[in-house]
């Protein structure tokens, strides 16, 4: 499949692969960050009710 | 040893969390590399010839960037007092702090250098050489730099003074670093000899630097 794009197929492939990695990383970061903030928010809401020391027992 | 590993972990954590210290030095490095073509012109042959010099000077300056805060931050919030009181010798504490600084500053510079070398049209052998020489030479720069950081710890505006104090001391490292790197660009110059001297300079700095820095910190206390 690569060969049909001629002698510079490697450059084309590299350009697309790097782009996918960067954008994929960006989307992944947004998702992970969003989940982390949600978790923090939930933890903060819970903490008002229970103390950490008691939660451990 | 656990006290030292705890310190190392804390230093890394702080470097990553506060303003992304590791990234800043690399960005500064990139800015220095970007400025050079504006100054000497975009001629690729010329840039390839002066490439090693640009990279080494850029890395040297970038490595100085956050050095003045290395002990000052701990001195301002009282952490340094507690470190002096620790059962661990101050020389080892200083060494660990310097190593953490190198991991978050010098090492990223060495890793980024080949990429910036590509922008200066350096041949691929020279890219490997610049990465290797910077990896071997930046510890030397850091361990010389910590002496200045310890000397200026009590001064409010120590940053500029620090640069003036330590850059002359860094000249030998710079000379042999560039010599070894140029070997890959200029065929006639040998690589291994200046490289070994560079390694020796770094190792020497790793012994001398912590001793001098710890002494300076002790005198600077009160």
């Amino acid at each position: 499949m690569l060969e049909q794009f001629g002698e510079h197929a490697g450059f084309i492939a590299a350009a697309y692969v790097i782009t996918f990695i960067v954008i994929g990383g960006l989307i992944l970061w947004v998702r992970i960050d969003g989940k982390a903030q949600m978790r923090e928010l939930e933890a903060m809401k819970r903490r008002g009710l229970r103390r950490r020391a008691e939660a451990k027992d | 040893m656990s006290a030292l590993s705890a310190l190392f972990a804390r230093e890394l954590k702080l470097a990553v969390r506060i303003g992304g210290g590791a990234l800043m030095a690399v960005v500064f490095f990139l800015i220095v590399v970007t400025l050079m073509p504006f100054a000497v012109g975009p001629d690729l042959n010329l840039l390839a010839r002066v490439g090693p010099a640009i990279l080494w000077v850029g890395a040297l300056l970038a490595n100085l960037l956050a050095l003045d805060r290395l002990f000052q931050a701990d001195q301002e919030d009282g952490s340094l007092d507690l470190m002096v009181m620790a059962p661990v010798p101050l020389e080892l504490i200083v060494t660990v702090k310097a190593l953490a600084y190198w991991v978050t500053t010098g090492l990223p510079l060495a890793i980024a250098a080949p990429l910036f070398g590509m922008m200066l049209n350096m041949p691929s052998e020279a890219l490997g050489a610049v990465c290797l020489t910077l990896a071997a030479g930046t510890p030397g720069l850091t361990f010389i730099g910590i002496i200045g950081a310890a000397l200026t710890v009590a001064l409010r505006r120590g940053g500029l003074l620090l640069a003036i104090l330590v850059i002359p001391l860094m000249v030998p490292v710079l000379i042999f670093g560039i010599l070894a790197t140029s070997a890959a660009v200029v065929v006639t110059s040998p690589f291994i000899q200046p490289f070994l001297i560079l390694v020796a300079l770094s190792l020497g700095a790793m012994v001398l630097g912590p001793i001098a820095a710890a002494a300076a910190l002790r005198f600077g206390l009160e």
Binding site: - | K13, L14, D81, A86, E222
Partner: protein, 219 residues
């Protein structure tokens, strides 16, 4: 609830004899002698600038001893006093970017030189009333809360001598009560405490009065 105190200290005595201190070219005091036995506290008193902080820093090994001798009998042999003492100075030695728990865990590991069990950290945070804020970055703490966190360090790592420089500053009444009960526990375990303070401590202490006039005269 009082923090666990497994190794009770016995037969401690801190003796200073003919101490002199020079800071910034100025002779702060000289010919200073004192004696504190285990399980007792010494309150350092006197007007500002008389050398209370200097004496504590001298004991902590942060200021060189100009003249005189300083011995801790009954402690670990061949170990400087600084390594057997806690120093609670004006600065809290906290990093705003680390959480309350991370700050304390670091100092506990660093000062004890070994791994520290999380229960011990929790107990120390509980003793100063910060357990609910364990995961909060230290930058959100008020001055009094920072002070409490610094105090938790003394609870988390056991050391025979406590050097306290104005320990009550920035603390509210509740925080002061906690501080006093922690000091009382430390003394009960046989430890020594030296405190430079203007507040009357609610338990029996000996007092070392540093008088400026005498100092000037001798200097």
């Amino acid at each position: 609830m009082s923090p666990p105190q497994k190794p009770a200290f016995s037969g401690l005595e801190l003796i200073g004899d003919g101490l002199a201190c020079v800071r910034g070219g100025r002779r702060v005091f000289q010919g200073l002698s004192f004696r504190v036995a285990g399980a007792s506290a010494l309150a350092l008193r006197g007007p500002n600038g008389v050398g209370k902080s200097s004496l504590l820093r001298l004991l902590a090994g942060l200021v060189p001893v100009e003249r005189g001798t300083l011995t801790l009998s009954g402690g670990k042999p061949d170990t400087p006093i600084a390594e057997q003492a806690h120093y609670l100075g004006h600065l809290d030695a906290l990093k705003p970017g680390l959480s309350v728990e991370e700050n304390l865990t670091f100092w506990a590991q660093f000062l004890s030189g070994g791994p520290v069990r999380p229960e011990r950290i929790d107990a120390a945070l509980d003793a100063v009333g910060l357990i609910d804020l364990a995961s909060l970055p230290a930058r959100f703490l008020s001055a009094g809360q920072r002070r409490r966190l610094a105090l938790a360090r003394l609870v988390a790592v056991t050391r025979p001598v406590w050097l306290l420089d104005e320990p009550t500053s920035a603390l509210d009444t509740e925080g002061q009560d906690r501080l006093f009960s922690l000091i009382a526990d430390h003394l009960k375990a046989g430890g020594i405490a030296l405190a430079a303070t203007h507040v009357d401590l609610p338990f029996t202490v000996e007092t070392l009065n540093l008088a400026p006039a005498a100092m000037e005269l001798r200097a």
